[in-house]
Symmetry: C2
Subunit: 131 residues, 2 copies
């Protein structure tokens, strides 16, 4: 069954709201509820660099992010959304304190949508995290 671009966008936007809430508050359950069991994600650097498989791994990852940014990450600007029937891309800027040091980044996250869930996530960095 194919789904419309509008449905895909709507689901991804719901997930993105939960994602943003998770970044700010470390409460990730709402976001995790929207992931398929076979969810996979790509992260650019560090312990989770590369492809990671499964919802439990995702839970571990987002907990790790919130531990590193223990005062939360604030999304300062949602610059652009590009989407089609299967994928929605959010380009945004964020900032916070990473292990106590000021951190700013420009990020592109890709959500692949299947039905009313997110089945894959890919993150790309537009900056080096320092400015």
């Amino acid at each position: 069954m194919t789904q419309s671009s509008e449905d895909t966008l709507k689901i991804a936007q719901q997930a993105f709201e939960h994602f943003q809430h998770g970044l700010a508050t470390a409460e990730w359950q709402g976001f995790l509820n929207m992931l398929t069991e076979d969810f996979k994600f790509w992260f650019p650097i560090g312990k989770f660099h590369g492809w990671n498989q499964g919802k439990e791994k995702a839970r571990e990852f987002f907990h790790y992010v919130s531990t590193a940014f223990n005062q939360g990450i604030k999304l300062t600007s949602l610059d652009r959304i590009t989407s089609n029937q299967t994928t929605v891309v959010f380009e945004f800027r964020d900032e916070g304190l990473l292990l106590g040091q000021p951190y700013k980044n420009r990020v592109a996250v890709f959500f692949d949508v299947r039905g009313d869930k997110i089945c894959a996530y890919r993150e790309y960095f537009g900056s080096d995290g320092k400015s």
Copy 2:
């Protein structure tokens, strides 16, 4: 005047072919010919970190890329294209020798299309360039 998603995709794909050719051969004129005069681009790191304005700056940048990768950069996989009426996103992997050292990256490039030209380009990295 609005343009169709199909036209936008077609123009961006032409530009991407020239872009790929430029990476491989250091011949950038075909790509540069497809940029608007007010073209702007975002690059994540180094000398060109941040927003850069104008076609001449673009010429300087792509020359700089080809100097750093003087044996060319090979696109090893075009993983996904996501697009709408104004923007086309290419997710790909590439590799080459950066100042003589093996380099691999996963990259997302965003082309904003106006008419039959590219008016903006944003690049994001999905890896740290080492693996």
